[in-house]
């Protein structure tokens, strides 16, 4: 299952290269350059070195003892009276430089940009995490950087806007459409098409035209590769279940991909159900959407019957996007990965539980993954192992959470 995409950039019927002709030659160049880079030991060595010394990898695989006990106490016994509730581990991507998994991908892409001789970096951002990670690597490599961000998100995420500016990036508020992540991506594509000669577009998730879904996945696969080594060292065997939140899906695919060919490892992707699927206000593309074409790839999208894209909603800005990466669409239809929706309220509850029981403030994105634990831990025996990807830290979310809990700061 790890051989895809095919040579035309497809994962089954998903993925592909649905871009304007102006971008097509550039995307073919990028693909050729990526193939060369993968064969080049110097590229891999520089990537590994930066991940170790700049990002702080490997990130720990942490046994979460109190969450484990909490869910063991709650889990009903199995049909033959067996005890339920697996041993829970957290993959601590929250401990990375800049506070989330996003930086892994940005390091890889800026190294590609440097190889291709590009002199200007652009990126889209929703909550600002990918914007901060991109501004960080642009500063590190001395390239000018423009971040497109929906005007509404600029207003909602002021601390991250300031972080990006401190790091030397120009932040362009996007006033078209609904003024959120989808519109920021449209605007980044418009900039790119007008500046193809010198500009590299660092896409923040495992989506967009081929080869982005593949290369973002490969750069993020360090998450799953490390998890594999760490669990073998700690437990001497592979985990029984992996759990990760899915917005565009880069932290999830990075965690899942190195295990896809291990049938004993179950995988669960968590979609943001917002106010509930039935409310229509959610960001669960697989549960509540259907296949279509947007932002360069064919994948599950939230849309109406005419193919007009509808607005997503999630309390987590990082999950607030009406689509997801094409490989997830394929893994969904093939049945290899199960996708489960989690609402804003469930995520808020898990956010607080994790703070109280483990002393870790998780990102709201990661809180969605944690919120599936009551359900998932009840399915697994006591001697099984479950790994949750804690994809980011929640310091950025404290204002949103305070607001949702009716607390005035």
């Amino acid at each position: 299952m790890r051989m895809l995409p095919d040579e035309t950039g497809h994962f089954g019927r998903f993925g592909g290269r649905y871009v304007a002709e102006t971008l097509m030659p550039l995307i073919l160049d990028l693909e050729a350059e990526y193939r060369k880079a993968r064969q080049d030991p110097a590229f891999q060595a520089e990537f590994d070195d930066l991940l170790k010394h700049f990002v702080g990898r490997p990130s720990p695989l942490y046994h979460a003892p109190r969450m484990t006990e909490h869910f063991r106490a709650l889990a009903p016994a199995g049909p033959n009276g067996e005890k339920r509730g697996p041993k829970i581990y957290f993959k601590r991507e929250d401990l990375n430089h800049t506070g989330a998994h996003k930086i892994n991908n940005c390091i890889g892409q800026i190294l590609l940009a440097m190889r291709m001789g590009k002199t200007r970096i652009i990126a889209e951002t929703g909550a600002g995490q990918h914007g901060v990670a991109t501004a960080t690597v642009a500063a590190r490599f001395g390239l000018p950087c423009v971040i497109f961000m929906g005007a509404k998100d600029v207003e909602r995420q002021k601390p991250n806007v300031f972080r990006m500016k401190l790091l030397g990036a120009e932040v362009v508020p996007v006033t078209s459409g609904a003024e959120t992540l989808k519109d920021a991506m449209n605007e980044a594509l418009r900039d790119w098409v007008a500046n193809v000669h010198d500009t590299f577009y660092i896409i923040g998730t495992a989506a967009g035209p081929h080869p982005y879904p593949e290369l973002v996945r490969d750069f993020q696969s360090v998450i799953g590769t490390e998890t594999r080594e760490q669990i073998m060292e700690l437990e001497g065997r592979l985990p029984d279940m992996l759990v990760a939140a899915v917005g565009g899906g880069s932290n999830a695919i990075g965690m899942f991909h190195p295990f896809l060919d291990d049938p004993e490892v179950a995988m669960v992707g968590i979609e943001a159900a917002g106010h509930g699927i039935e409310s229509g206000q959610h960001a669960a593309s697989l549960t509540g959407g259907r296949p279509g074409i947007l932002h360069g790839n064919k994948t599950y999208l939230l849309q109406d019957e005419d193919g007009q894209i509808t607005e997503a909603h999630s309390i987590s800005a990082g999950l607030d996007y009406p689509g997801l990466g094409p490989e997830h669409s394929w893994l969904h239809e093939s049945g290899r990965v199960r996708y489960v929706p989690i609402t804003d309220d469930e995520a808020l509850e898990a956010f607080q539980l994790c703070c109280a029981l483990e002393g870790i403030i998780p990102a709201l994105e990661s809180a969605h993954a944690l919120a599936a634990l009551p359900r998932l831990t009840a399915e697994l025996d006591k001697d099984s192992i479950l790994v949750v990807n804690v994809s980011g830290r929640g310091d950025k979310d404290i204002f949103t959470v305070a607001d949702a809990l009716g607390v005035e700061l």
Binding site: T8, G16, R17, Y18, V19, A20, E21, T22, L23, M24, P25, L26, S176, G177, K182, D183, N186, L189, R190, V193, A194, N195, V196, H197, G292, I293, L294, H295, G296, L301, Q303, E305, D306, G307, Q308, I309
Partner: protein
């Protein structure tokens, strides 16, 4: 002869674009024809028009805000065909609204409404299977875009399976922004015409009769969009008069260029 062949046989052709459902579309289309447009491009509004500048983005959103549906666009097209039996009509838009009910459905609706050609911004030759075979099967032209980044190696792939005319996007960028330098247009058009058996029309950033005239001296057609869409924004439901006036000036410039 097809409607395209007739339209381009008379000398340089003026291709005019407006967005369906933005303003009084039927009256506006009639005004374009009365003003002297040789080919009509009717934009299919989409929530996420990635290749368009502010003028056409806003037109898309104005149209969708008024509740324009795909069925309305085909009604507009069919009514246009009934009123103007000889003027070629092209639908221009994005892949998702065109393919959501399947390419066969879309191609059949185009044929039924008398649509001559389709321009889909985000289906490059590499993804032709998504729409091309269905359109060709129904005798509807797939009109492809060539751009300043389309090199000699790619051009045959772009031309393969395209018909009607070739649309040369004269600047690497989005619609309605700056115009390309005339000399670069001339060089590009010469290369395209040498490689192509179909007419070459040039667009992106063309706003005035002077620009249109200069391009018409070398190309088979000139596409004007954002300047017309701006008039619809400015005049709302009363845009037909101003549209007729600008189209007349553009048509005069294009038709007298050679």
């Amino acid at each position: 002869m097809t409607r395209f062949e007739t339209a381009f046989a008379k000398g340089p052709a003026l291709v005019c674009f407006i967005t369906a459902g933005d303003g009084d579309t039927a009256a506006n289309l009639d005004a374009l024809v009365e003003g002297g447009a040789d080919v009509i491009e009717l934009g299919m509004p989409f929530t996420d028009p990635m290749a368009d500048g502010p003028a056409i983005q806003e037109a898309n959103l104005r149209s969708l805000a008024k509740g324009t549906r795909t069925a309305d666009i085909f009604r507009i097209a069919a009514a246009f065909r009934a009123r103007h039996p000889h003027v070629p009509l092209v639908l221009m838009g994005y892949a998702n609204p065109m393919t959501i009910r399947g390419p066969e459905w879309f191609a059949a609706e185009c044929a039924k409404a008398g649509v001559d050609g389709v321009i889909c911004v985000d289906i490059p030759p590499e993804e032709d299977a998504e729409l091309g075979p269905a359109l060709r099967g129904k005798g509807v032209s797939l009109i492809r875009l060539a751009t300043p980044t389309t090199d000699a190696a790619r051009l045959p792939a772009v031309l393969r399976g395209s018909s009607g005319f070739l649309y040369y996007v004269s600047v690497a960028g989005i619609t309605g922004m700056q115009q390309a330098v005339q000399t670069s247009i001339e060089e590009a058009v010469a290369k395209l015409k040498a490689a192509s058996a179909i007419p070459v029309a040039v667009g992106f950033g063309v706003r005035t009769p002077e620009q249109a005239s200069a391009i018409a001296r070398v190309a088979d057609g000139v596409v004007v969009g954002s300047a017309l869409v701006d008039l619809v924004k400015q005049h709302g439901d009363e845009a037909a008069g101003p549209l007729r006036e600008l189209t007349s000036a553009l048509a005069e410039a294009v038709h007298s260029a050679r």
